[in-house]
């Protein structure tokens, strides 16, 4: 872990990614304190009447929506869903993918054939349609979105981790551990796993990015939880109120935030790539 | 005029955190017909030196000083294209992993004739004839020219590479650990072959190796490299029988031998100097059992001997040191 921070301190792209990501996490954690208004509360003008589609002003830094809600507050509260979906799915994806990859690669034989067979089937499923169907069957809600994302994306990391485990298990130091009397599970989790963790971390950060994208897409397509403010949902309401071209202050912030957070994921991925493959550092 | 003349050559690598002086002020002459062994441990700069000679340094490496004169022409100033023409034809190179440099999708015979045809005007038929002769020379079956590299064993591939490097009768062959990956018997067969072939047309060779037994068996001159410098150079019999530099003495006594009485093998404890730092005094001072205060600073004196030279501050007591160096206690830490 110490190495990870060392690399980040030298790798500018990774560091910037980390800073952006941490800022979003902080915003999400303190969202209730930071948001100036209740995101669902309808704002009124001083002279009376709903503050519909107000451009940015001192009262509403990012303006208001068609329903007269404060965009900044929606953005801040919406970050919670993005960060939650991103982090939870990424951790689940990495956990499942890494374990399945390790087990398949290390034990080989029938275990490997079955697990990799499942992976092949998963590869046959188209991502977004599957997620949409799952969410519409199970009903909208953050947990179902996360489930859909995890069910699909673990396939990517398990493939790569398997090939890593496959090459690591033939290394001499694994043979040496076997000679010391180490059990299979010990070899797998004490000797092989630490050597693949940097690669898992690449997948944590990139699958976080893709999870956020997916969540936004699902909400934008109207399948998000109507009771939850999320960035995708903001885009969806903006689109369905036909205000896309009239109110740039409404449409741009969620788009920008999604891009930024997704980007931070890929940037951190770059940093982890250097941990995993120190040769890249010399370039 | 010597065939190859290295004059005060220094080579540096640029690293992310500074410079590394891999070769420091090396001078060496190779005459026609010479087989020079270049020995040293890993990281001593021997591979860098030969890459410098044939202009194949990696992009962060550069000859910062001195000249590499081959037949009166400074190779270090030669354009890449001209140098490319000289490779194979005048200077050819055999590396440790050369056997992996055969292209797996072409027949070995075609690869050899291609090298010949690129440099010499002759018909394809004549080139194939030449390849057949070469195969005879290196002890491979002519019929094997029709085979693909994967049908060869390691030793056969290495022989094929040697055949290829000899195809144009180069004046100088640079061989970097050409037989290290091979078994003893095959290694000896190949070394003997190369020697006989070179003798045939009085070609020269620089043989880079870590194994002084190989040098003893194949070379007539030997240059011992340590920490970026040739610390001793001379006739192979003189250097290996009566070494003048303490490092050479140690190296000689570290080698197992099948003949003679079974003396204790010695070991030179410690590690070679860090070439990214400036070295003051003798390069070998940290591992030398004979180190004195005068060894610890300044340049070491250059002492010329009959067949070569060496650098050692205690040059006036070498005979005595040699006696001590034969005792294994001398080297105990």
């Amino acid at each position: 872990m110490k190495n990870v921070f060392k690399v980040f301190s030298k790798n500018k792209i990774g560091l910037i990614g980390l800073i952006i990501f941490v800022s979003f996490v902080l915003i999400a954690i303190f969202a209730n304190f930071l948001a100036p208004y209740d995101p669902m509360e309808i704002q009124f003008l001083a002279e009376g009447g709903v503050a519909r589609l107000q451009p940015p002003s001192l009262d509403h830094l990012l303006g208001t929506t068609y329903m007269g809600r404060d965009v900044l507050s929606q953005m801040i509260i919406g970050s919670r869903v993005a960060v939650l979906v991103g982090v939870i799915s990424a951790v689940c994806v990495a956990f499942i993918g890494t374990n399945i990859g390790l087990i398949a690669g290390y034990f080989g034989g029938i275990t490997e054939r079955i697990l990799m067979g499942i992976v092949d089937v998963m590869y046959g499923l188209p991502f977004l349609p599957f997620a949409l169907i799952l969410v519409s069957v199970l009903g909208p809600g953050v947990q179902n979105v996360i489930l859909a994302i995890v069910l699909i994306t673990w396939r990517n990391s398990s493939r790569v981790i398997r090939s890593q485990a496959l090459s690591l298990k033939n290394r001499t130091f694994i043979e040496a551990a076997k000679l010391s009397g180490a059990s299979d599970w010990r070899i797998l989790y004490k000797h092989i796993a630490p050597n693949v963790i940097p690669i898992s971390l690449i997948y944590v950060s990139t699958s976080m990015a893709s999870a956020i994208m997916t969540e936004s897409s699902i909400s934008f397509l109207g399948l998000g939880d109507p009771m939850q403010v999320s960035w995708g949902r903001i885009l969806f309401t903006c689109y369905s109120s036909q205000a896309m071209f009239k109110a740039p202050w409404w449409i741009l912030p969620p788009g920008f935030a999604i891009t930024l957070l997704v980007l931070s994921g890929y940037m951190m991925g770059r940093g982890f790539e250097e941990v995993a493959n120190p040769k890249l550092k010399e370039r | 005029m010597a065939l190859l003349e290295l004059n005060e050559v220094s080579i540096e690598y640029k690293l992310s955190n500074g410079k590394l002086k891999a070769v420091d002020n090396v001078s060496l002459n190779v005459e026609n017909g010479d087989v020079v062994g270049l020995v040293g441990e890993s990281g001593c700069g021997k591979s860098t030196l030969i890459k410098g000679i044939i202009n194949l340094l990696p992009s962060n490496g550069k000859i910062t000083n001195g000249e590499v004169i081959f037949e009166g022409e400074d190779l270090s100033k030669l354009e890449f294209e001209k140098m490319r023409k000289k490779r194979w034809k005048e200077i050819s190179m055999i590396t440790q992993s050369a056997m992996n440099s055969l292209n797996p999708v072409y027949r070995v015979g075609n690869q050899i004739t291609e090298v010949i045809l690129e440099h010499e005007k002759m018909s394809k038929h004549d080139a194939m004839e030449k390849a057949k002769e070469l195969f005879d020379l290196v002890g491979l079956d002519r019929a094997r020219l029709e085979d693909y590299p994967h049908q060869y064993s390691g030793g056969m591939k290495q022989r094929a590479i040697i055949a290829m490097s000899l195809a144009l009768d180069p004046k100088l062959i640079i061989a970097d650990e050409p037989t290290t990956a091979l078994d003893v018997i095959v290694q000896s067969q190949i070394l003997e072959k190369i020697n006989a072939l070179l003798e045939g047309y009085s070609g020269s060779m620089i043989l880079v190796t870590h194994d002084i037994s190989v040098v003893a068996q194949t070379c007539n001159k030997v240059a011992v490299m340590y920490g970026g410098r040739i610390i001793e150079y001379g006739d192979v019999k003189q250097v290996l029988k009566k070494p003048n530099h303490p490092y050479t003495m140690g190296l000689k006594n570290a080698f197992p031998s099948l003949t003679g009485e079974k003396k204790d093998l010695i070991s030179i404890e410690g590690t070679p100097p860090d070439l990214s730092k400036k070295i003051d005094g003798c390069r070998f001072k940290d591992r030398c059992p004979f180190v004195l205060d005068k060894c610890k600073s300044g340049e070491m004196p250059f002492t010329r001997v009959e067949s070569g030279y060496y650098y050692c501050a205690r040059h006036d007591e070498i005979d005595h040191l040699r006696e001590l160096a034969d005792l294994s206690e001398t080297w105990d830490v």
Binding site: A176 | E41, S42, M156, V184, Q187, L251, S257, K262, S267
Partner: protein, 333 residues
């Protein structure tokens, strides 16, 4: 020679692998590769046995059989009076305490993400030796200093990449011996190390084997090196032990033509002793196509008619010196 207790013994040991012969990207044929083809070997307490042979002769497979990393196809390995050739589960884990190995490449054999102390403490932890972490730490420290890394505190918290090759090999030796095994195999323990420090690693191995009264096997391709470290030597060729006996006698008498060839081809550091190669032809054949009769006959300078038909049996030349060659057949008949 006093009769010593046998620690480990292989009786008619066989190991066969099934290999796929590929042609044009498809599996053409499945052939059996007899990596170890009926060998008999034993090692006594405090004794070092050298196994020498060319690459592919089966010496590493033999080592892995002895350690239970492969299961034997036929035959048995006795540790004391227990057959350990097919152990599983708890019994195998228990056996691990008795047999350990030093690998060729110290750069590969240590987990790059483990600190030295963790590498050495791990075997203790696995077998529940030492009552707590602190005691295991002390044991590891003690072992490290026995392996010549002094003061041990300085090395305990390092990672492998912060050490030199020789130091890493010392760590590997410490890890192997911390369990107090009865039996130690070293597979080419110094071939990846610089010549100047090889002797110290060999001396350390030697010292550990004699002091701790272990049975040691040292595998090498270099017969001159074997001369310095082993009491008895076995020469292996294509899966069979063609000659074995006390090292000095084997080198002196060299009954088997293959032993003779190996000895004659070994380069000598003395430039006045040149190798002779008239004796041997070609390279060892691929182990999937072992020649009929004596497997050495196609390369043998003394090949007779009988050699092409019948595999020679092992003949006892006295003093435990055995040779598998028809040349010595009439002596026993």
């Amino acid at each position: 020679m006093t009769e010593r207790t046998k620690v480990i013994e292989a009786i008619d040991l066989h190991k066969e692998f099934m290999v796929k012969i590929k042609g044009d990207g498809k599996v053409r044929e499945i052939k059996s590769l007899k990596a170890v083809d009926g060998i008999n070997l034993h090692v006594c307490k405090g004794e070092t046995l050298g196994i020498v042979g060319e690459s592919g002769c089966g010496k590493t497979t033999t080592a892995k059989l002895f350690l239970g990393l492969h299961n034997a196809t036929m035959g048995s390995i006795l540790l004391g009076d227990k057959d350990i050739s097919h152990l599983k589960g708890k019994e195998l884990k228990n056996f691990r305490k008795h047999a350990q190995m030093i690998f060729q490449d110290p750069y590969e054999s240590l987990n790059p993400r483990f600190k030295i102390k963790n590498t050495i403490m791990e075997p203790l932890e696995i077998h529940g030796i030492g009552k707590d972490k602190a005691e295991r730490y002390e044991m590891a420290k003690q072992m490290l200093s026995e392996a010549g890394l002094k003061p041990p505190e300085e090395y305990m918290d390092r990672y492998p990449h912060e050490m030199s090759g020789g130091q890493k090999q010392r760590v590997a030796i410490a890890r192997a011996l911390v369990l107090n095994p009865d039996f130690l195999i070293a597979d080419e323990p110094v071939s990846m190390l610089d010549v100047s420090i090889r002797a110290s690693i060999l001396k350390l191995l030697r010292k550990m084997i004699t002091e701790k009264d272990l049975a040691g096997i040292i595998i090498s391709h270099d017969i001159s090196l074997i001369r310095y470290i082993s009491d008895r030597t076995a020469v292996m060729y294509l899966g069979k032990i063609v000659e074995q006996g006390s090292t000095e006698e084997l080198i002196e008498k060299r009954y088997h033509p293959y032993t003779k060839a190996l000895l004659e081809a070994a380069p000598n550091p003395d430039p006045e002793v040149k190798f002779t190669l008239e004796n041997i032809k070609g390279e060892a054949p691929n182990p999937v196509d072992i020649p009929k009769g004596c497997r050495f006959h196609p390369r043998c300078p003394e090949c007779m008619e009988i050699c092409k038909m019948i595999t020679p049996q092992e003949y006892d030349m006295g003093n435990g010196h055995k040779v598998m060659c028809h040349l010595y057949g009439d002596k026993n008949e």
